[in-house]
Symmetry: C2
Subunit: 450 residues, 2 copies
């Protein structure tokens, strides 16, 4: 590479040359946190109909049983496993979120775990490849957002394919030339429309990104070539898929800071905009331990976007419940939690929940700085008024979920699939992933079914 | 579907309801011509390194031996077979060209033949599905070109995926709802950058379109859903991937005229811009039967684009030879033909070819109406001046290749792979494809290797 190398080549060279020793301990631990969070999401939704239908579509054409489907007994070839585990990662929209860009894990970990299991790679190589893949996809996304997203692209798909390609290419030991080609082959497969939000295709995007990125790396490993300037050329990815491109974002400070440090995890399986309200209600319930019958009324002061996106007063289904800040408050106050089980249709239609929901009043308050902030006030029948201010919702960078929080989330997600012992084993494997001699241990443990 | 159905639903409904009886005989025959031409291109390049590398990359992950690789002994699952046969279709850039839009066959026939062989479909169903797939991809392309192409998209990839999805969906018997989803799943996979021209990724595009379109249909058949307005929604395919969109082009006159009628076939495996010159040289050689030693000088009057794109005076490799109108004239005058064999490096470096090439003089003539027109004049050492005007190159709609021309092209392409008997059998199968009870007969014959 010369000084005139473009960003595609510079980025490729960085990924090829990077050493795990250069990654700070906190970033390595963040990769373990992301792994635990991702596995929980994928295992927990392994039997969702979105996954069932995708599996039924591709199973007759799958190859040798090289890699596990998370939370399931089946084993498929690594490309199809990457695809299906990518789909299940995102079905609940409960996976991680970079503060400014993509859902980082859903396109990258499925490609890596399938490839890593098949090649029996070490946990350290696996985590390092993940960290680099996230770096690539986030920097690419940051170089073109928000215009790229505004045009209509689902950036988790369009940038995710690069992350999967870079990560898989690192595991495959590509040289700089091949890594450049891998990024080019990823560029020419980049796709995913926001129009698909609300359909099964939203989860299809990280699945396709995982599979296509992995195949880009496999092709490049065979010297299947592509443009050397797939990202920055006048007809390259950035200019064709966005009206804005800041190439410096891709290369500045590579290896100095890590985008994975800016990763967030959701405590609740619903849109981020109601998280602060749920936090406040759970906290009030925890502090004062009132009963539902004690509640006279509930007042919320929220950011305008909260009512714009989740203003549904009388939700009737689980999915509608996710778009109701009123339901969100009710389950926080009654159940003291908001897991997927609190979005079951039976809960949304539960008269006890509806009784509280109907006493919730939400108003927009211009002094609320973001949709991750909220004020909750509960008036009890005995006249007491219990108020709580949530300046930053749980899961934000200002108030991250703790490792214990992530464990609890994981346990709740995998409960229908794994035994308590299996869950505990997998949790420990995640925290110690960097010491594993064979990452396949995690893949097999996460498959669950014996 | 109601009157308010958008173009995605209208197009889906058309494909689902269409009957083969409604297709004119000339269009059916055009499907056979396209089939013969496509098979020749794919069989002839089955051992090209682009295909070898792609096969090496995916073979370890392929599934059951459901479908043949053209010109090869291997059998793979239908998705991988569609991919690889799509790649080999386009390696020489010798496949068919719609007069205004895409390379129609390369994304559609590979998906269909793989699926058709596996499902043992009849030749009539197979040809009909192809005709519909071409209709879909060409109409989509026409609705967004030239702006879509100018932005930097390789329309054979971006529109081809819809053609493959529609054609495969027709064979699978999708209902209108499922066909709409299949088009949506295709929309959200649409990709392929013109930046990749000149690399192996150009051939990757129809391969990926074939595989992804086929998978879209397979997913939709399992009721994997997507947007119902994947094409026309504000954040749908047309608006995200183009600055121009004329939806009426997609639906006007559906079933009344067929875009396949506007398909062109290349007689020579090089850019269309030198075809008229080659025609003129071959024709002069045929009429006057001079020897290379008789030639004193050669004068060409051509459209400006000819010298802009193929002005290379001293090509040194086969690929460079394709960008030299001088080499084109020399091989036409010496060999009386221009097959792939005339672009071998040995021919490009042959002193006898170079001797003539150096006597070729080309000038731009503003009166030449298009790059498919040319004037050729040969001055012999005996003083005679032999002139020929080619108003329309062979292969254009004004002067189509005859069925015999297509047979000759096919024979030349498959010669390294198939015996004369095998080639003759396959030619007859193509002309009679509509009568075959099992299209797999053609797939197996086209595999070649016993």
């Amino acid at each position: 590479m010369t000084d005139t190398a473009g960003v595609t080549q510079t980025l490729a060279r960085y990924v090829v040359d990077a050493k795990y020793a250069g990654v700070p301990a906190a970033v390595r631990h963040e990769a373990c946190r992301a792994l635990l969070n991702w596995l929980g999401c994928a295992i927990g939704t392994a039997r969702h109909e979105t996954v069932q239908r995708a599996l039924a579509a591709v199973a007759p054409f799958a190859g040798a049983p090289q890699a596990a489907l998370l939370g399931r007994g089946e084993r498929l070839d690594i490309l199809n496993a990457a695809f299906l585990n990518g789909v299940s990662s995102h079905v609940l929209d409960f996976d991680d979120t970079h503060v400014e860009a993509v859902h980082p894990s859903a396109p990258v970990y499925p490609a890596l775990l399938a490839l890593g299991e098949w090649r029996r790679v070490s946990g350290a190589d696996f985590l390092h490849a993940f960290i680099l893949g996230v770096e690539v996809e986030c920097r690419l996304a940051l170089s073109v957002v928000p215009q790229h997203y505004d045009v209509g692209w689902h950036v988790t798909g369009t940038a995710g394919v690069f992350g999967a390609a870079a990560a898989a290419g690192k595991l495959l030991g590509l040289n700089a030339q091949q890594m450049t080609w891998a990024l080019g082959i990823a560029a020419t497969q980049s796709s995913g429309l926001r129009e698909m939000f609300g359909s099964m295709c939203k989860s299809f995007h990280p699945g396709a990104a995982a599979r296509n990125g992995l195949s880009a790396a496999l092709l490049a490993a065979q010297n299947f070539d592509s443009s050397l300037r797939g990202i920055e050329a006048p007809r390259g990815w950035a200019h064709v898929l966005s009206t804005h491109f800041d190439p410096a974002i891709i290369t500045e400070g590579l290896g100095k800071h890590f985008e994975l440090s800016r990763n967030m995890y959701k405590p609740y399986p619903c849109g981020l905009v109601v998280h602060a309200v749920i936090d406040g209600c759970i906290e009030l319930k925890r502090m004062h331990n009132f009963l539902p019958a004690d509640i006279k009324r509930v007042d919320l002061r929220v950011h305008p976007m909260v009512l714009e996106l989740t203003g549904k007063k009388t939700p009737a289904t689980g999915l509608e419940g996710k778009f109701s800040v009123y339901h969100a408050a009710a389950i926080g106050l009654i159940h003291g939690r908001a897991n997927e089980s609190e979005y079951a249709e039976a809960v949304v239609r539960d008269p006890a929940v509806i009784a509280i929901r109907d006493r919730v009043f939400a108003v927009v308050d211009a002094t609320v700085s973001s949709f991750l902030e909220a004020y909750v006030s509960v008036t009890l029948r005995d006249g007491r008024v219990l108020a709580h201010h949530v300046p930053h919702a749980l899961g934000t960078l200002q108030r991250p979920m703790s490792d214990q929080d992530l464990e609890a989330k994981f346990r709740a997600l995998v409960e229908p699939v794994l035994s308590v012992d299996q869950a505990n084993t997998l949790i420990q494997q995640c925290w110690n992933a960097g010491d594993l001699r064979d990452i396949g241990d995690i893949a097999r443990a996460a498959a669950g079914a014996s």
